[in-house]
Structure formats: structure tokens, C-alpha cells
Symmetry: C2
Subunit: 509 residues, 2 copies
């Protein structure tokens, strides 16, 4: 992308309201170059995803492909210009060589935004295709049309029933995601959806020929539906603008950034993926720090930080973790993992130990953090958790998630074998939801955040269903769930370090 | 444990054959102190687990509890001495204060081994209970009875239909597990079972008052059913004997050890868990190196190393990884993760690139490692994988596991929505199994090992079933499956470094 093109783009559409109207509230979407079988294309089945979300019940959805008159029950048009109704947004699935014709038609039709799933432009490194990309963006910009991509997956706007992959949640949420990679955006949305996170909007923007990270950060900062911002980046375009937008965004909303291409092998991959020059990770790290953002070093970090920021775990007061687990060896490894992340496992004060010993027998247990109990039933577990949550050195309580494979909560394997599987699943799910509710109530009552830790899944599908139900119910009630102790501790450690860098600045949430 | 007690124990029963007979092939098991409802005790439901495995169809299974005459359809005896039939093995669930009486009865009954689930002995640090443990072990040793524990979960011997937790696989396998922690043994067995690993025997030995790690390592080294040995340790008892046994075992079978209690917090937990003095991790690390064992730094390491050692991935020739993925951003992060683990992502030779370009279009793809393709269907994927597996710099091929959420293999989301869920699950599982078989065939044909990488699960239970089916089918056909690229790369890196330390020694497998 040349400076000329991007300056034009900025002139045309930097005001967040304009970006919002053009991109996030399109009335009428045309999919040009739609494949004949919407299920045939596993990547880029935009028609299938929009139908799954129910977009066509809201606004017009117009497949375009001259070889068909109907697809998936919808009328199929020979060209964009054959659609009589208004079209705000076009998804381009045509080959790169057909794009110039499509752009002319888009200008004529008077659309407001276009998303190029089409690849084969600047990311190929071919000078002719770099020039072609520059030219088409220039033409669109002149016409006041915003472009996403090329070489990307485009938009996920659940409140408008727009999605770019199957299986995205239909309910909107509070996380804004921007990503140079469609596959990574999909992994983030699918993976976090299972953990209960929901999104305000997500944009996969690929080569970023027009709409770039800094536009999206500025939009996210002002978007009233967005509380937390997450980003996956490969290269930084227009470095100074990016840094200023990052500062503006991170000043008002917690902003987590994962950078791909940190090693030579990854940088080489990034260059052939989105044409990005990955740049130095040290400079990027410094930009995140100075910009007030959190840097996720891995995809796991990004997932876990978003879960942390969207639950009460974000209010953790300090590094004192109490671990309530069932199983001494588990407690040993967990304590090691907590210490590795730079957090503490403080011994409990005498009055806490005594309060626990009133109902926890000595044999086979430990009550001096980690708390390794064999308490029976959720009443005793609730009592244990409440006592340790109120202890002075406690900033956060780690406890096992409550489904399957042992533990005092009741769950999957409690259900009588003679019941049919679907009933056993329902009961296990119900039990898991009750456990999640208990943690949520304790968070409110004690003012101490909880983190629920998943254990290795039992060799049994019922536990899997219970685990999913637990994760959703917990997150919905503001309780963070993490796959294991090491990841929970690492996310909390990253959050605490970020917060300490912000000292003196206003609270974000 | 005092030296006296342990020396006695050694004198009585170090010969592996004796250990084998006494521990691993018990004809007749009594569970003394069995709870009235076998499902009520979530931890220690030995009766339930033995019934699940079908032990009672093989040998006598005798619940003992004076308060009942029947439990779970079995006759319940008032005391051990009321059982007329021979009993080889006793599981003690009685409180510590009742143990002396039980030991006297066990000696009178002429049993061969006893497992103390009973806790509250030396691990409490109470001198009276330390002395009590020493005394009871002395009495048992004098009578020629081997003891497991106290404070542990005991035996898993699938070929004898013995298990200490619900949901353990019934089929035997080639991995021997010894663990000071029952909870961690359960996590290892459940977690690895889902990944297709099966076990020859597992022993949770807790305080190790009689049977200790060195006895079990010596047994595992000679056990014809065992090919790979895994251990979870908190403290080392009789250091020199342990080190010598470790050397003997690791000289003939790959041996992976996870040590708990590496930080002060973990060491404190280990001390209250099994009474272990955790010792210096530097000394332990040196012992592993000099002993020829692999040290797992985390539970994830242990799982991934066992998967690596039980599949063709163990034959990886060197550090050259080819990554075949669908999704450019995924490829970028994966390349970073591979480099972080010390492995390489070598560019492909020109003839490989040309062979791939014959059928892979330029737009939106990359064929120069990482390979980011949008190939359609399993024929093109097979062709891609075969070409890169035969390329000169390739030591190992990483490829996405084949279920759910996009990708060229076909799978969960391909199935028509109108089918009932169980049929969609069956079809998805079948498709996943076909994909696993393809990798297995390619491993054999090309001589290059493959590693299948799971992606974040889609928000959909069908993908979960398909993932489980894939993992089982892949491992059964000698293909390693890992949860993500970072863990796969780390396991391969650990294996390669271990192998390079063994250079000049005979191949183990």
C-alpha cells in the first residue's frame, strides 16, 4: 500500500461514524462470485454463514453468479448491477483478474463497503499485483467506498446477524476483535465462544490496503458496544498512526495484542501471508508498553487475557493465590505453576486454618494453602471457599471446575448408569451450572474473585458436555474459567504487571 | 520412612518376580472398610471401579464392612477373616486407628499384598503416626506381605481388570506409570487415554513406606508388557538406590519423569501431601540426565512425551519440520512456536515447490514451508503431504487434525443439517478416522513421521466427538496427535535433545 492510497483512504473515511455506517450496519449484502454449493467451500462459505445467522430475515442477501439463477433457496443474480434493491456491502469472491470489473460495478451501484475475500494481490510480492491493489483501492476511495482486505475473511457483527464462518455465536458481546488473519480470527472466536466470551464486532482485514489496524482501534475505542479490544497483527502499517491509535484505544479500554512473526520462520510466513514486514519484536513490545496495551505472547495468552478481562478476575487485588483442589499431587504441581508465573501461594493465618479444621479431618488433607480437602458435597465446599476467600492474604481463589472425574461437587459420574445418555448429560450439565452459580455468588459475597480451573477431561463424553455447560454458565456469571493452573496464573500475572504499569492512570473498568 | 523399615522391606521382596506375583496378579481382592454406597465416595470408589472393569468375573471380589451384608450386589463380610475363599490383595479403606487390627488379620489370612488408601500416617509429620507407619510396615514385611502406600490410590492393571478410578480403559497397553500421587496418576491415565495411549500397569504409591520408586522402576525395566515408563515423583527415597534403578530402567526403556515441588510453594505442598522432602531440582535434573531419563517439566510435557514415545514421532530424524496448515495466520504463529522450541522450518527445495505448484494455485496460498494451501478434498491433501514428506530437509510433518471447523479434509460441518445428531456424529467420526488412516499410510510409505495438531475446537459437540475419534484412531495407527503446535514442537525438541545425549548407546526402540 502506498502512502497516497492510504492518505486518500484516510481523507475519505476516518471519522468513526462514517466507518461504522459503512462497515458495521450494512443494509443489503451481495456475495459476488458465490460458489454453486455454499457448503462446498469450507473456507469462505459466506453465504452459508450469513444464512446461519439469519441475515436474510433482516436485510437483502443477494448471491451473484452468472452460472446460476438460484442458490440455497435465494435468487441468484448474473451481476451486481442486476440487483434492483439497495446493496450497502459486497463480499468479493471473484478471482483477482475479475476484480477491476467488479469495482467498476460497485461504484456504479453505489455501495458503501466491499470486502475482498479475493486474494492474489500485494501479498504475492508481484509488482503488477501490488500496483493493481493500489489502483483498485484508489478508485474505491475516490468513490467513498471503504474496502476490507484484500485476502481476508471480513466481518462478524452478531447484532446485525453477519458472520464469516459457521458456528459463531449469535448473541453479541463486549469484545472487539481485529485480525490480519481470518483463520486466527476464527480460532479466537470459536475458542473463546466455548469459554463464554461474546463479541461486539470482529474484522479480519488481511492486507489492510484501505481499512487498517489504526482505523479499527479508533473505532473500537469509541464504540459503545465494546469494552475490551483484542488484536492479532502480523505487520504494522503506518507505524506512527498505529501507535497513536493504540494509545488512544488502550487509554480507555483494555487492549490485548498478539503479534505473529516474532522469529525468522514466522516472519517469513507472515510476509507470504499478508505481505507484512514483521519488524522487530522488541520495537513492537516497546510500542505495546508505551501504548498501554497488553502483549499476548501466544494465542493461549490472548484467549486467557480476554477471559480474565471479561470476568471478575480482572479485579484481582494482588498476587496472593489460594488454591483449593482435590488431590495432593495436583496441588503440588499447581503450586509450582503458580510460583513459575510469579504469583504467591501464601500460608493461611491461624484463624483460617482453625476454621477449616472444624470440619475437615486431618487424614489425607491439607488446609494451609494449597487446600487439599476431601470435603463431601457442595455445602462443605462452599464453606471452605468462603473461609479462604475472606482470609487476609487472599487476592484470588483458584478452584477446580466442577464437572466429571472426581471431586466434591457432584457431577457427571454421579448420575446412575441406567439413565439414558441424554438425561445423564442434562443432569451433569445442570450440576455443573449449579457449581458455576455458587462461585459467582461467593465472588459477590466475599469480594474476592475466583478462577475455576478445568481438569483433564475424563475419558467420557458426558464430562465434555458438562465442561462446556460449566464454562458458559461461569462466564455468564462473571467467573473466569481456565484450561489449567499454569495458564490461569500466567494470565493473572500478565494482568497484574500491566496494571502496575498503569498506576496513577484512571481505572478502565 | 526409616532406613530400618525400608531395609527390611528390601530384604523381603526386591526380586521382580516376587513383586510381580504379589502386586500385579492378585487372585482375590478384599476391600476392607468399603463405604455403604460405592458411588458416594468420589475419590476411592474402588469397588465401583473394580466392578466397572469386571474383576469379579475373573476372581473373587470381597467387600468388608460389618455394618452391611450386601453391597452393589455382592456379599459383604464383617471382617477379612470371615472370607472363606483365598484373598491375595487387600485394599484398606479403614481409618488409620483401625489399621493395626487389619494388619493382624491380613497376616492371619495369609494375603500377599495390601494397599493403604488409608491416610494419616507419616505424611502428617506427627511422630506418633510416623512410628505407627514404621511398625505396621515392619509387621507386614516380616510376614512377606508387600504394602503400597499409605495414602495412595494403588493399582491399575487392565489385563487383570483392576482399576482405582472410573473410566480407565479396559484394554492394556505398553506404558508403565508410577506415581506418588493418585490424583496425578488419574489425570495422566484419563488424559492420555483420550489420546489413545494404553497402560501395562500403573501404581500410585503415596508415602512409599514399603514399595518405592526404585522397586517399580526395576520391575518396569523387566516387565515384558512395558515399553515406555512414566513417573510422577515428589521426593526421592533412598537416593542411591533410586538413581541406580533409574539408570537400569532408562538403559533399556525410554523413561520420562515429572518432578513435583520445584518451587518453595510446591515443595511445601509436597511435604504435606506425601511427607516428601522435595530436594533440589538441580540435583534431580542432573540425576535424570546422568540416569538417561527424560525430565518432563510440566504435566503437559509428560503427556506429550508419552504420546511421542508411543508413536512413529519417536523416530523423527532431526529438527526439520514441515508445517502443512490451512490458514496463513495460523501458519505464522505455528512457525513462531516451532522456532521457539528450537526446531527449524526449512524452506522447501525448488523441485518440491514446483511439484506443489502443479496443483496449488498462487492466490491465497504459500508452498514454501509453512505450506498454506486451500486444496480441496483428501486426494489433494494426500498429494501435498506426500510431496513434502519426501523432501530432503523434512524430518517431520506437522498437519492439522482433520475434524471440524474448516480445512480440506471433510468432516463435521460437511454433514447435512437435516440428519439426526447421532448420525452426524457417526459420519464425522468416520471421516476423522479416514483422515487418521491416511496419515498412518503416508508415514509408512514415505518413512517420515507425521504429527497431527488439534485446532481450537469449534463451538459444536459434533467436532468434539470427531476429535476424540480422530485421536484414538490416529494413535492406534502410530500417529501422534498433539493439542497444539507449541506442545508438539516442545515434545519433539525434548526427545531430540534426549536422543543426542544417548548417542553411542543402543537404540531403545
Amino acid at each position: 500500500v502506498t502512502d497516497t492510497a492510504s492518505t486518500d483512504a484516510n481523507t475519505a473515511g476516518t471519522a468513526p461514524d462514517a466507518l461504522e455506517d459503512a462497515l458495521f450496519h450494512p443494509r443489503g449484502i451481495a456475495i459476488v462470485g458465490v460458489p454453486s454449493n455454499p457448503d462446498a467451500e469450507r473456507i469462505g462459505s459466506f453465504l452459508g454463514s450469513l444464512l446461519e445467522q439469519g441475515y436474510e430475515e433482516r436485510h437483502g442477501l443477494y448471491p451473484v453468479n452468472p452460472k446460476m439463477t438460484e442458490v440455497a433457496g435465494l435468487r441468484c443474480y448474473p451481476t451486481l448491477l442486476d440487483i434492483e434493491e439497495p446493496v450497502d456491502h459486497v463480499i468479493s469472491m471473484v478471482p483477482a483478474r475479475v476484480v477491476p470489473t467488479l469495482v467498476d460495478q460497485a461504484v456504479e451501484k453505489g455501495i458503501r463497503s466491499i470486502h475482498f475475500f479475493t486474494a492474489g494481490f500485494s501479498e504475492t510480492g508481484d509488482p503488477a499485483m501490488v500496483a493493481a491493489e493500489r489502483e483498485l483501492i484508489g478508485k474505491l476511495t475516490t468513490a467513498g467506498i471503504r474496502a476490507i482486505g484484500p485476502n481476508c475473511m471480513g466481518l462478524y457483527v452478531p447484532s446485525e446477524q453477519i458472520a464469516f464462518m459457521d458456528g459463531f455465536p449469535k448473541e453479541p458481546g463486549e469484545v472487539f476483535l481485529l485480525s490480519q488473519s481470518g483463520a486466527n480470527a476464527g480460532d479466537i472466536i470459536h475458542g473463546l465462544a466455548r469459554r463464554g466470551v461474546r463479541f461486539s464486532k470482529a474484522v479480519s482485514f488481511g492486507n489492510g490496503a484501505d481499512v487498517k489496524a489504526h482505523h479499527l482501534l479508533d473505532y473500537a475505542a469509541r464504540d459503545p458496544e465494546t469494552k475490551v479490544v483484542a488484536a492479532y497483527m502480523e505487520g504494522v502499517q503506518e507505524g506512527r498512526r498505529f501507535f497513536e491509535a493504540l494509545k488512544r484505544c488502550a487509554a480507555v479500554k483494555p487492549t490485548v495484542i498478539l503479534k505473529g512473526g516474532i522469529h525468522a520462520a514466522g516472519a517469513r510466513a507472515a510476509n507470504s501471508h499478508t505481505g507484512s514486514l514483521a519488524g522487530s519484536i522488541q520495537i513492537f513490545e516497546a510500542a505495546c508498553r508505551q501504548g498501554g496495551a497488553m502483549r499476548a505472547e501466544t494465542m493461549d495468552d490472548l484467549h486467557d487475557l480476554v477471559v480474565t478481562l471479561t470476568t471478575q478476575a480482572r479485579h484481582v487485588r494482588g498476587s496472593g493465590v489460594v488454591l483449593v483442589s482435590g488431590g495432593g499431587g495436583y496441588a503440588v504441581l499447581a503450586s509450582d505453576a503458580i510460583a513459575t508465573a510469579g504469583l504467591d501461594v501464601p500460608p493461611m493465618p491461624r484463624e483460617t486454618v482453625e476454621a477449616l479444621r472444624e470440619f475437615i479431618p486431618v487424614a489425607g488433607t491439607s488446609v494451609n494453602n494449597p487446600i487439599d480437602t476431601n470435603v463431601r458435597g457442595s455445602d462443605e465446599m462452599r464453606r471452605t471457599l468462603e473461609i479462604v476467600a475472606r482470609a487476609t492474604p487472599t487476592d484470588l481463589v483458584f478452584t477446580n471446575a466442577a464437572w466429571g472425574g472426581g471431586g466434591p461437587w457432584g457431577g457427571a459420574t454421579d448420575e446412575p448408569d441406567e439413565l439414558p445418555e441424554n438425561e445423564r448429560i442434562e443432569r451433569a450439565e445442570e450440576s455443573a451450572r449449579r457449581a458455576a452459580t455458587m462461585l459467582s455468588e461467593l465472588q459477590v459475597e466475599t469480594g474476592t474473585p475466583f478462577a475455576a480451573i478445568e481438569r483433564t477431561r475424563s475419558y467420557d463424553p458426558i464430562s465434555g458436555h458438562a465442561a462446556d455447560a460449566y464454562a458458559l454458565a461461569a462466564h455468564e456469571q462473571d467467573v473466569a474459567v481456565y484450561p489449567n493452573v499454569a495458564r490461569a496464573a500466567r494470565a493473572i500475572g500478565l494482568l497484574l504487571r500491566w496494571r502496575s504499569r498503569r498506576e496513577g492512570l484512571p481505572e478502565l473498568f
